[in-house]
């Protein structure tokens, strides 16, 4: 009997909870949705000329035809390959370099000021050099992404390691940890939040650099699709590419975020170990 009495109350609470949850999910989408709807309406009413700005529906159609012909998938896969390999190469170099300079005073003196100097060069200014050295093939595009990704990872890893709580390191010493244990159990986890911030930032740099590099003597990739469309004022393809950038950007941000939540779950109050 008691349970029966309690039920309506529970349902009410649950309903309210579900509604607020729903609102949390939907609220971020309201502005983009409103913009797209009004844009579509303006296009239908001829307020926006389709040669200047095609309607969302036209963009969707272009996307569908590009998907059906396989062109979009291929270009996306090629861009993804360039982006990821550049990221992996640049990320590893930046990370290892930062390990060297943050853990060894000698290497720090030797390398850090040079790296800091190079870091301030806008990496897109290196395009002519990259073309001279690596040509116009894949390696030039990948190396441009590499350079773009290298520095944020370097800076954040360096900074993260340098700012690990010295009390914790002393604690490790008093437990007589060897260098490897100290590194693996204290320094890396301590630096991880900052490193992951670098990763997130580098993912953004990765896409912007890739898009620029794909406008150079390219014959494939999303950046190529967009510049190619640009030379013929193919606005709906250009818009499609812009949407794809936004999507890829959001996607990599999500990936970085979920990496953060899974690796840094100890930061959350009340977080329990996974196992």
């Amino acid at each position: 009997m008691q349970t029966l009495e309690e039920n309506p109350h529970n349902i009410k609470i649950n309903l309210a909870k579900i509604l607020t949850n729903l609102l949390h999910y939907l609220l971020p989408w309201t502005i983009p949705t409103l913009i797209i709807i009004s844009w579509q309406l303006a296009s239908i009413n001829g307020l926006i000329e389709s040669t200047i700005l095609p309607s969302p529906w036209q963009v969707v159609q272009t996307t569908i035809t590009s998907l059906q012909s396989g062109v979009l998938e291929q270009n996306m896969a090629i861009s993804l390959y360039r982006a990821l390999s550049g990221f992996v190469i640049g990320g590893s170099i930046g990370f290892l370099l930062a390990l060297c300079t943050s853990l060894s005073q000698t290497l720090n003196l030797l390398l850090d000021s040079s790296v800091q100097m190079l870091r301030n060069i806008p990496h897109l200014a290196l395009i002519p050099l990259v073309i001279l050295w690596f040509g116009v093939g894949e390696s030039s595009k990948i190396s441009l992404v590499t350079i773009g990704v290298l520095f944020p990872i370097y800076i954040n890893t360096y900074h993260g390691i340098r700012s690990v709580d010295s009390n914790l390191i002393e604690m490790g010493h008093s437990y007589q940890l060897n260098s490897w244990q100290l590194f693996w159990h204290i320094i890396i986890p301590g630096a991880l939040p900052t490193i992951l911030m670098g990763v997130r930032y580098a993912l953004g740099v990765m896409w912007t650099t890739l898009i620029v590099s794909e406008t150079l003597a390219s014959s494939a990739g999303i950046g190529y699709m967009s510049t190619n469309a640009q030379s013929f004022m193919d606005m709906s393809t250009i818009l499609m590419c812009i949407m794809i950038y936004a999507l890829l950007g959001k996607l990599s941000d999500l990936m970085a975020k979920s990496l953060e939540t899974s690796l840094l779950n100890w930061q959350i109050k009340g977080g329990m170990i996974n196992g």
Binding site: S219, A229, D234
Partner: protein, 322 residues
């Protein structure tokens, strides 16, 4: 349970991403049937090389002749000239102006072949609202052109013909894509360019072609240019001219097919492509003395106007395959 689902989902997602990247990698590796000598050709969208590439015959014939052809698309002629100079491409199809300025700046390039005149499709298009009817109306107007392209020579020749100086008009140097937006929005009065931009400006934005290259002797031919490669590989150059020539003959005799093909690849309205194709003919042959003297005229005129700093004798740089 929730955690498990989440983990499963991220794993699948990760595998998908990596698999796509690997697929992308395989796509970038051109099939390496490698005993063939590789020739890299630079081109721009919609040009004769693009036709040969899309038609697909050229690549097969070259393969039979022992060459593996790789195409690289460029945004403009200056980028192609840079790539030639650094040896990243072996041949390039450009308009008539980039090789002239490249020579004047000391690059060592060779004219390998020349196309037929595109004078009818190149010229100045005026917006409807500008009220420009003839070249004398250009006085005081805002005219867009793109430096280091045929449009630079074109606008100079037109101004000379109209008896105007550069201070009588407002010249704006813009990229093709910027200029087309400016034209569509009426931010400029006239636009100096070539097909398919001229026909697009005429048909899509109801502009009027007030003067063409025919009037001022600007042919705006296509040229095949090479760095040192053509000189060292005469056989390759010969094969290239021969097979490209065959594609051009095909283009002249199959205009409906050509229009269909280019409409698709350029994603332009059919009527625009039609107009472009119908007011020109296609060819690629060894460089004639007529073409050489046209290039010489451009070179001299640029030198006189101070655009280039060096006098160049064009005939010295024309490839002689005999």
């Amino acid at each position: 349970m929730h955690k498990l689902v989440k983990r499963l989902f991220s794993t699948i997602f990760l595998v998908f991403i990596i698999a796509s990247a690997v697929w992308g990698y395989t796509l970038t590796r051109e099939d390496s049937s490698s005993s063939l000598e590789t020739i890299t050709i630079g081109y721009q969208a919609g040009d004769p090389i693009d036709i040969a590439k899309t038609r697909g015959q050229f690549i097969k014939k070259m393969k039979k002749a022992g060459y593996k052809v790789v195409f690289k698309q460029f945004q403009n002629g200056s980028a192609e000239m840079e790539a030639l100079a650094s040896g990243n491409i072996d041949y390039a199809r450009t308009g008539d102006t980039p090789p002239v300025t490249a020579l004047a700046s000391g690059s060592s390039i060779t004219f390998v072949a020349a196309g037929s005149s595109k004078a009818k499709g190149s010229g100045i298009v005026a917006t409807k609202s500008s009220g420009i009817k003839s070249i004398s109306d250009l006085k005081g107007k805002k005219i867009a052109y793109t430096s280091n392209t045929s449009s630079q020579y074109m606008i100079m020749q037109v101004l000379k013909k109209a008896g105007l100086s550069t201070s009588d008009v407002t010249l704006v140097d813009m990229s093709q894509s910027d200029a087309s937006v400016a034209f569509a929005k009426g931010k400029i009065d006239a636009w100096t360019n070539w097909d398919p931009y001229t026909s697009s400006a005429e048909l899509t934005y109801s502009g009027a072609m007030i003067v063409t290259g025919t009037t001022v002797g600007a042919s705006n031919r296509d040229y095949i240019i090479s760095g040192s490669y053509a000189k060292n590989h005469p056989a390759a150059s010969k094969a290239l001219i021969k097979y490209l020539g065959q594609d051009m003959t095909w283009a002249n005799t199959h205009k409906t097919k050509l229009v269909k093909m280019m409409t698709k690849s350029l994603k332009l309205p059919k009527k625009v492509v039609e107009r472009m194709v119908n007011r020109r003919s296609y060819s690629l042959k060894a460089v004639s003395t007529k073409a050489t003297s046209e290039e010489q005229a451009i070179s001299d005129s640029f030198y006189t106007d101070g655009i280039t700093k060096k006098k160049v004798k064009i005939s010295k740089y024309v490839l002689n395959l005999k």
